[in-house]
């Protein structure tokens, strides 16, 4: 070897040494007894020992106690000139922590070719191992979850071939993976739904859109149950669909409950319809009855009254005073009976008729009513309005009825010889309007006020004041049917009746 060759050799040695030193992997040599003979920077980084600390020490110091039996085997293979490639094992750092390594051990031979030691290249694979462990644990957790959820679950390829089912699937269907793999699931679908289900599933596979459908799947008992089924595509980082993850949720009970609800809803509607029909019929019968009452009951009364009147007119002059008086009693009683029947009809009609409400001007209504009744006009009586009475929301015929009754009471119940004076005024009470009817009549004792608006209640003596006892009941019924209220006050100087109804004013 000349100088230049020597230089070349030296150069080559230092070049190789540089490669060894700069390697991330641990590169160690040992003799056949397992004693460390060289130790690079990578070894120091991975194991924590410096070269000074370990050269001359047995390599066993790198081996955790539970793996000490590996070394004799490795050494035996080396002596036979065999290599050990990418042997994944665990080693121990100087600080005692363990690390995963991939080990390649090659025999070192001398110039005669005899094995004198070994080179070990150890690569730290703890990060990769960690990732593998994490993945395995994650998969185990996933399996644990999907095997224990109440839903059936599965994965399929992009072509719709199922590659895995969860435990619940096998429990419910009583099938095996061999039967179900690929498109084996078709076998346990209901024939009436299969075509639609497959078409929709295939459409989702093509478009990559989430699949959702509800259909029956046959259980191991041969009975079908309904499942809400969903599958979502799982994509890789490039957006390509890797697989589909699907679930089938048993919705049989919800469906049955919904159907039961729909049935009971239908039943209810049917019952309401029937009930309405029978009510309508009852009302129709009631109408018929009222009509008959108004016609048939009043006819004989009218006849009694008419004949008594005719007798008075035609034969009054040949009767004694007492005879005429008796006939007058018949006429008056018949008139009263007729009025009672009519009032009762009015009352019963009020209770059942449908009322269409609209704005009604109280000022106009009062004028109309007064113009119909001579006893409310001068010189017999005076009805004055204080200010504008405004408008209310009401059913005009019913309100006319109510107000006519109040006004006719107001001019009727006065002390003998007193000219009735009635004052009307209204006041806004929030969204309502209260119409006051203040008379100068005989008033009502407080103890009778509770009975005032009852049917057939008469507070005053019929000998002096005519009445059927239905008038105020009609007032209350009609006002209440229009969503209003009635009431009265009396302070010894006449009575103050009021009617309260929704106001038609929108701006006050």
């Amino acid at each position: 070897m000349n100088v230049s060759e020597l230089t070349q050799v030296e150069n080559r040695d230092s070049w190789l040494a540089a490669i060894v030193e700069s390697s991330d992997d641990a590169i160690i040599t040992k003799d056949l007894n397992g004693i460390i003979t060289s130790w690079n920077q990578g070894a120091q980084r991975i194991f924590g020992y410096s070269a000074e600390e370990v050269i001359g020490k047995p390599v066993a110091i790198l081996i955790p106690p539970d793996r000490q039996n590996e070394e004799p085997g490795i050494l035996a293979r080396l002596r036979n000139g065999q290599r050990i490639d990418h042997y994944e094992t665990v080693r121990q750092r100087k600080d005692g922590t363990l690390l995963d390594i991939s080990l390649t051990v090659s025999p070192l031979r001398n110039a005669e070719g005899k094995v004198v030691g070994a080179s070990k290249i150890a690569r730290d694979i703890s990060v990769r191992k960690q990732a593998q462990r994490a993945l395995r644990e994650s998969e185990e957790r996933f399996r644990a979850v999907v095997d224990n959820i109440p839903q059936m679950a599965w994965t399929s390829t992009q072509s719709g071939d199922v590659t895995w089912y969860n435990r619940r699937w096998y429990e419910y269907t009583g099938t095996t993976f061999e039967q179900m793999k690929g498109r084996g699931w078709i076998a346990i679908h209901h024939p009436e739904h299969l075509e639609r289900v497959v078409a929709k599933f295939d459409e989702s596979l093509q478009t990559g859109r989430v699949w959702e459908d509800t259909f029956p799947i046959r259980g191991k008992d041969g009975k079908y149950r309904w499942f809400l089924s969903r599958a979502v595509p799982i994509r890789d980082s490039a957006g390509k669909i890797q697989l589909w993850f699907g679930t089938n949720t048993d919705v049989t009970e919800q469906r049955e409950a919904r159907e039961a609800l729909a049935r009971s809803h239908d039943d209810l509607e049917k019952r309401v319809t029937e009930r309405t029909a029978s009510l309508t019929e009852a009302i129709a019968q009631m109408e018929e009855f009222s009509y008959s009452v108004s016609h048939d009951l009043r006819a004989p009364v009218r006849a009694m009254q008419g004949y008594a009147q005719a007798t008075l007119e035609d034969y009054g002059d040949i009767l004694h005073d007492q005879g005429r008086e008796y006939l007058n009693h018949i006429v008056r009683s018949a008139e009263r009976m007729d009025r009672l029947v009519r009032d009762l009809l009015t009352y019963s009609r009020l209770a059942r008729s449908e009322l269409e409400l609209q704005p009604v001007s109280l000022d106009r209504l009062v004028r109309d009513i007064v113009s119909h009744y001579p006893e409310m006009q001068q010189p017999k009586a005076e009805i004055i309005t204080r200010g504008t009475l405004h408008s209310v929301i009401a059913h005009e015929p019913s309100l006319t009825q109510a107000l006519s009754n109040l006004l006719s009471n107001a001019v009727k119940f006065v002390a003998p010889g007193v000219k009735p004076e009635v004052e009307l005024y209204s006041e806004q009470q929030g969204a309502r309007l209260r119409l006051w009817v203040h008379d100068n009549g005989i008033g009502i004792k407080p103890e009778y006020r509770g009975r005032l608006f009852g049917l057939f209640e008469r507070i005053h003596n019929g000998k002096y004041y005519e009445g059927t006892g239905i008038g105020l009941a009609i007032v209350r019924k009609s006002v209440e049917r229009m969503g209003g209220r009635v009431g009265m006050e009396s302070n010894g100087k006449g009575s103050k009746f009021w009617i309260e109804l929704p106001s038609a004013q929108t701006d006050s």
Partner: protein, 139 residues
């Protein structure tokens, strides 16, 4: 009034009401001849000249009808409907005379062409007013 040449047809099943009607007319001083039928079917027979009413000379068409609503067989409303449909009866004035004060009856009667709606008993004064108006020569 006595020689107005007008004829009234009274459609009424209640004898008492027939009596009161005649009496009211008389008290009003109206001596208009009255023909009487006592149910809705008879009224139609009268109009059509059927059965006992075949002789039109003996049973001429009336100028005015006083019509009760509650009648045996065909009701007063049915009779009104029939009259409305027959062009030959269009010149007859129909006055409903009923014991029903019901608003819907009043409304229905006017819809079916009634000229007046009176609730029994008809006062002589009212009859006089109405008949006076109806007997004015028409334009």
């Amino acid at each position: 009034m006595t020689d107005s040449g007008k004829l009234i047809l009274l459609v009424e099943d209640d004898e008492n009401d027939v009596f009161f009607f005649r009496r009211a007319l008389k008290k009003a001083g109206l001596e208009i001849p009255i023909r009487l039928v006592t149910d809705g079917e008879q009224a139609l027979q009268y109009f059509n000249g059927d059965g006992q009413y075949r002789d039109r000379a003996a049973h001429p068409l009336p100028d005015i009808i006083f019509l009760d609503l509650k009648l045996p067989y065909l009701s007063g409303m049915d009779v009104l409907e029939h009259i409305q449909k027959q062009p030959a009866l269009n010149t007859i004035d129909v006055i409903v005379l009923t014991s029903s004060p019901e608003e819907r009856d009043r409304k229905r009667a006017f819809e079916l062409g009634a000229k007046e709606y009176l609730v029994k008993p008809a006062a002589p004064k009212t009859l006089l007013q109405i008949l006076d108006r109806l007997m004015q020569p028409r334009e």
